[in-house]
C-alpha cells in the first residue's frame, strides 16, 4: 500500500481524533452556527475516512494513483489546523473552510 495514501489516512484520522476530543461542554458555549460547523467537520472527515478505507481494501494503490498527491496535501492541511491552532473555535472554522477540496478529491477517486 502506498505510503502516501496511508499518510493521508493517518492525517485524517488524527484530525478526527482532535475533533472527537473536544469537550461537549466547551462546544455548548459556542454559537449555533459554530456548533453546526463542528458537527459538519467531524461528519465529513469520518465519512471520507470510511470511503478511503473501503477503496483501499478493494482497489489498492491503483485507485489513488492519479490523485494521491492532492489527497495528501488536502489531508495534511486539515491536520495542520488541528495541530497548530490552539483555539478550538478557530480550528473548527479553518477546517470547515478547507473541507471542500477533500470532498472533491475523494469523489474523484470514488
Amino acid at each position: 500500500m502506498s505510503a502516501t495514501v496511508q499518510e493521508s489516512l493517518d492525517s485524517l484520522r488524527n484530525t478526527r481524533n482532535v475533533l472527537n476530543e473536544m469537550p461537549g461542554n466547551l462546544r455548548n458555549g459556542w454559537s449555533l452556527e459554530d456548533q453546526i460547523k463542528f458537527a459538519d467537520d467531524l461528519h465529513r472527515i469520518s465519512q471520507r475516512i470510511l470511503q478511503i478505507e473501503t477503496i483501499k481494501m478493494t482497489k489498492g494503490n491503483q485507485a489513488f494513483k492519479k490523485h494521491e498527491t492532492q489527497l495528501k496535501k488536502a489531508s495534511a492541511k486539515l491536520e495542520s489546523f488541528s495541530e497548530n491552532e490552539s483555539n478550538f473555535l478557530l480550528m473548527v472554522r479553518s477546517i470547515n473552510n478547507s473541507l471542500g477540496i477533500l470532498d472533491e478529491i475523494v469523489e474523484l477517486i470514488h
Partner: protein, 325 residues
C-alpha cells in the same frame, strides 16, 4: 464491574479440536515416498486453516462492531449538523459498503477453508476414480473471486493489488510441487490449484492488513472517546455534584486496560503469512506448520479480552456522561 476474560487458549483449543476431526494430515496427502519420522511430526493444514478461519471471523466481527459503534458515537456528536437525516443516510451507505467488503473477505476465507477440507477428503478417499469434483468446483470459485472484476484491463481488478515480485511468486508456485510425493490425483489437483490458492492468500494478506488498520484505529478512537468523556471531563469538573469516585476509578482503569490491547495485531498478520508458508510446505512435501496454531492462540486471547472489556464498558452506559455529550 465484571471483566470476564476468556481463558487463554480455550477457544483456540476447541477450534483445533474440531479442526482435528477434519484433519487433512500430510500423512494422508503424502501417499508415497515419505519417511516415518516425517509422518509422526506432521501437522494438519486443514486443522490450522479451520482455526485460522474461525479466528479471522472473530476478528472481522470485532472490526464490524467497533466500526459501527464508533460511527454511531460520532453520529451522536454530529447530530446538530446541517442536515442530520442526510448525514445519517450518507453514513449508512458508506458503512454498508465497508461492511460488504469485510464480508466478501469472510466469504473468501471460508471458501479457502472449504478447499483445504476437500483436499483432505480427496486424499482420504478410497474411491479409485475420485477425481475431486468438489475440490475443482471450489478452486474455480476461488479463481473467479481472484479475478474480480472480470475484465483484465480494469484498473480496479483485484489482482492489480500485486507487485511484479508478487506476480512472480504466484507464477512460481507450480514449480514448488515435488511430484514424487503425491498420488497422481492429488498432484493433478495441486498443479492446477497451487497458484490459485497462493494468489487468494496474498489477496487475503493485503485485505487483512487494511482491516487490522481499521480495527486498530477504531479501538484507539473509542479509547480516546472513553478517556475524554469518562476520565478527563469528569475529573476536571471539580464542582460537579454527580461525580462518582468509584465509577471514575473504574473508568480510568478500563482505559489503561484497553490501551494495552493493541500489540497483538502483528500476530494476526504473522498467522496469515504462516498459513501461506504452510501451503508452500504442502507443495514441497514438508510438514511442520505448527507456527500457525501458536500464533492463533494469542490472537484468540486478544479477541476474548477485547470483547470482555468492550462489554464491560457498554454495561456502564459509556455514552452518557452529562458533561461529555
Amino acid at each position: 464491574m465484571k471483566t470476564k476474560v476468556t481463558q487463554p487458549s480455550e477457544k483456540s483449543k476447541q477450534t483445533l479440536s474440531s479442526g482435528n476431526a477434519l484433519h487433512v494430515t500430510l500423512t494422508a496427502i503424502l501417499l508415497s515416498g515419505c519417511s516415518n519420522s516425517t509422518l509422526v511430526k506432521s501437522h494438519s493444514l486443514s486443522a490450522s486453516s479451520a482455526a485460522y478461519t474461525e479466528t479471522v471471523n472473530g476478528l472481522l466481527d470485532e472490526t464490524i462492531n467497533h466500526v459501527i459503534d464508533v460511527d454511531s458515537k460520532e453520529l451522536l456528536r454530529t447530530r446538530i449538523g446541517t442536515n442530520p437525516k442526510q448525514m445519517l443516510k450518507d453514513k449508512n451507505k458508506s458503512m454498508k459498503a465497508l461492511i460488504g467488503e469485510i464480508n466478501n473477505l469472510r466469504q473468501q476465507i471460508s471458501l479457502m477453508n472449504n478447499y483445504f477440507i476437500n483436499l483432505q477428503a480427496l486424499a482420504d478417499s478410497t474411491v479409485k476414480e475420485d477425481a475431486g469434483v468438489n475440490l475443482g468446483r471450489i478452486s474455480s470459485r476461488i479463481q473467479y473471486m481472484n479475478n474480480r472484476p472480470r475484465s483484465s484491463d480494469d484498473s480496479t481488478r483485484i489482482d492489480k493489488l500485486f507487485s511484479e515480485k508478487e506476480e512472480g511468486y504466484i507464477s512460481q508456485m507450480t514449480s514448488m510441487i515435488v511430484g514424487s510425493f503425491y498420488a497422481a490425483r492429488i498432484e493433478t489437483a495441486l498443479r492446477r490449484d497451487a497458484p490459485i490458492i497462493a494468489k487468494q492468500m496474498l489477496i487475503q494478506e493485503k485485505q487483512l492488513k487494511v482491516i487490522l488498520g481499521i480495527l486498530q484505529n477504531r479501538l484507539e478512537t473509542a479509547n480516546r472517546m472513553h478517556l475524554t468523556d469518562k476520565v478527563i471531563i469528569p475529573y476536571a469538573a471539580i464542582k460537579d455534584p454527580s461525580f462518582n469516585q468509584d465509577e471514575w476509578v473504574s473508568n480510568r482503569r478500563k482505559w489503561f486496560q484497553l490501551e494495552q490491547a493493541a500489540p497483538i495485531f502483528a500476530d494476526v498478520q504473522a498467522a496469515q503469512k504462516a498459513l501461506r508458508l504452510a501451503w508452500e510446505d504442502i507443495l514441497r512435501g514438508k510438514k511442520d506448520i505448527g507456527a500457525v496454531d501458536i500464533m492463533l492462540t494469542d490472537v484468540n486471547d486478544f479477541l476474548g479480552t477485547l470483547h470482555a472489556l468492550d462489554q464491560s464498558r457498554k454495561d456502564d452506559s459509556y455514552l452518557s456522561h452529562p458533561l461529555g455529550e
